[in-house]
């Protein structure tokens, strides 16, 4: 009995780690850059495919390939914001307008990125196996690659948290999120910071993609379901709150794992029920204001 409970709890944490990581990126993009990035999952997909290519073609281990894929995805995100979204931001009369338009622009991006991925990698399912062996924890067995994923999620999450709370740039990002105009008056170059945030969001997605590719098969159309999960986590944790994304991610992972144990068919229903109930009861999320 205790093993079963432990089993469910840890399985939930393992899922939660991935959820949290992909939600943190989206949270940053929405919370600071005000872009509800529907194409977030496409960046996850890019990260996953770059990792797959490097592993299968050159034998570069996924965790090492992070060093190559992350800057690449970051640059794509940064340039996209600098060009496309900055222009949209300047031409939009209000923040609400910008949010709406940028979301739709992301929908266009989603189409483009997916098509490019299908053209360059083909539509078929890809996968590889890496660190796929069981690890014993207090009598319950777990996959090594998933444990590593959880570890990475926690490490990256904490590193990111420290970056935001301790460094000059991190503080500038938080300031820009809370009051962009006032931040500009502090000498912070807002459009640079926003692009940085969008790039960092893409980077987190890329890391998420790498970690996901270690445990799951990948395909060019995989993005949307991860975007949906990230959105749920975002709302559960509180829009734009980084710690909130972690709380939301782990909560969702745990709920998923408990419901899957009782009635697997209802796992996703449970996600959406939580999502919608929370929107009704406390739209700003668990850690939101």
């Amino acid at each position: 009995m205790i093993v079963t409970v432990l089993d469910i709890l840890i399985a939930g944490l393992l899922m939660g780690g991935i959820y949290a990581l992909i939600a943190v990126g989206l949270s940053l993009q929405y919370g600071v850059a005000r872009v509800l990035n529907i194409a977030h999952g496409e960046f996850i997909m890019l990260g996953a495919f770059i990792t797959w290519s490097l592993y299968t073609a050159f034998g570069i281990v996924p965790l090492v390939s992070l060093a190559i894929s992350s800057p690449l995805v970051f640059t794509i995100g940064f340039i996209l914001y600098k060009t496309l979204f900055t222009r949209l931001r300047i031409s939009s009369p209000s923040v609400a307008m910008f949010e709406g338009k940028s979301m739709l622009a992301c929908f266009g991006l989603l189409f483009m990125i997916q098509n490019i991925a299908i053209l360059s990698w083909g539509a078929e399912i890809k996968g590889y196996s890496y660190l796929a062996f069981p690890v014993n924890i207090l009598g319950a067995k777990f996959a090594a690659n998933r444990l590593i994923t959880l570890g990475f999620a926690v490490v990256f999450g904490s590193a990111f948290y420290l970056f935001l709370s301790r460094t000059r740039i991190g503080k500038a990002i938080r300031a820009a999120a809370q009051d962009a105009v006032a931040a500009g008056l502090m000498g912070i170059n807002i459009s640079w910071v926003l692009a940085l945030c969008f790039g960092l969001g893409a980077l987190m997605a890329g890391i998420g993609g790498t970690l996901i590719s270690m445990s799951y098969q990948i395909q060019p159309t995989m993005g949307l379901e991860y975007t949906m999960i990230a959105l749920i986590v975002l709302v559960v944790g509180g829009l734009g709150s980084i710690p909130g994304s972690f709380v939301g991610g782990f909560l969702l992972g745990l709920v998923g794992s408990i419901v899957t144990y009782v009635q697997p068919g209802l796992a996703l229903v449970a996600y959406y029920v939580i999502f919608m109930l929370l929107l009704l009861a406390k739209p700003t999320g668990i850690l939101g204001r």
């Binding site: 222009r87 739709l104 622009a105 929908f107 991006l109 053209l119 996703l268 919608m276 929107l279 009704l280």
Partner: protein, 316 residues
């Protein structure tokens, strides 16, 4: 109550509309048969887009629930199609969607902005997964067969709904209720203090727009023979009406109509000409339109018109 248009202009517009209607009503008699099918699709998207605009245009509540309402209509068709005649089924499809809209509307009154967007989109996924689970575990099936009717019948039914939707939208726009809806979008608080029953207005309009989406779903399902939750609740159908409305411009009634018609045709064109690059081109056009056509096609046309016609008829 409106800026008086010259009688002449009005008559021309009415004449054009009448001819257009005649052409549409008679086209199954002489148009190529595929044109009729393509038109049905275009009509469906116009219905979805215009009914989306009826609610979301003036109030500014961006709803991503069209797929949910459409899906409810689809299921109505599958469940009741063998029991009732098609017109009754369409009506029931519309009514069920309206009921859903009333419930959702009453629940989500407090939500504004992005929260409303998220909730409505969550609704689509929740319904999808819940019905999936229900069908698998309770009824023990997922696919349902829908009775089919001829293409021409589908065409006329969709045309009928289209005419009703446009008429409704037109009358609503001109009426005091249209004005009230717009005032809600501009400042809800002030609207309430001017005597507008904000809650009732929002819910009833949401339900009205859902009715047409449900009806469209009930009609369209008959073309598909077989449906399952994934087919019925296709999230893309939530985004397309929004994109089409933006593409056309929501300032005028004909904006969403033109937007939906052009968008659907463009998609058809790209998908048949460039099957392997269509998403890329389509995505690019979307981004381009959002960047460079902030007020949609209609806004652009009006700007061009003004430039050509000079300041002769410059309206305020």
């Amino acid at each position: 109550m409106h800026i008086p248009t010259s009688n002449y202009k009005k008559r021309v517009a009415l004449g054009v509309l009448f001819i257009l209607l005649i052409v549409m009503v008679t086209s199954p008699l002489y148009a190529p048969r595929y044109t009729v099918i393509l038109l049905t699709s275009i009509f469906m998207f116009i219905v979805l887009t215009v009914s989306w605009t009826v609610f979301s245009g003036p109030t500014g509540y961006v709803s991503l629930a069209p797929a949910a309402f459409f899906g409810v209509g689809v299921y109505a068709s599958a469940l009741l199609g063998f029991v009732f005649p098609l017109p009754v089924v369409i009506l029931l499809g519309g009514i069920s969607s309206s009921c859903l809209a009333v419930i959702v509307g009453a629940l989500t009154l407090r939500l504004r902005g992005i929260y409303f967007v998220m909730f409505t989109f969550g609704l689509v996924e929740l319904l999808l997964h819940f019905i999936l689970w229900w069908e698998v575990n309770i009824t023990g099936t997922t696919g349902r067969v829908v009775p089919t009717v001829g293409n021409t019948t589908v065409y006329y039914l969709m045309l009928g709904v289209l005419v009703i939707v446009i008429l409704t939208a037109y009358l609503l726009n001109r009426s005091r209720y249209g004005l009230a809806l717009q005032s809600i979008g501009e400042c809800e608080e002030a609207a309430a203090h001017t005597g507008v029953h904000v809650t009732a207005m929002k819910i009833s309009t949401f339900a009205l727009s859902a009715f047409f989406m449900g009806a469209a779903g009930a009609i369209m399902a008959t073309r598909w023979t077989y449906i399952d939750p994934r087919i019925a609740f296709n999230p893309v159908l939530s985004f397309l009406p929004v994109l089409m409305a933006i593409f056309g411009g929501t300032g005028q009634l004909y904006g969403p109509v033109i937007g939906a018609a052009l968008f659907t045709y463009l998609e058809e064109f790209l998908i048949t000409r460039f099957p392997y690059y269509y998403m890329l081109i389509f995505g690019f056009i979307m981004v381009f339109a959002i960047l460079y056509l902030p007020e949609g096609l209609v806004g652009m046309i009006q700007k061009l018109w003004k430039r050509i016609g000079g300041a002769k008829h410059a309206d305020s």
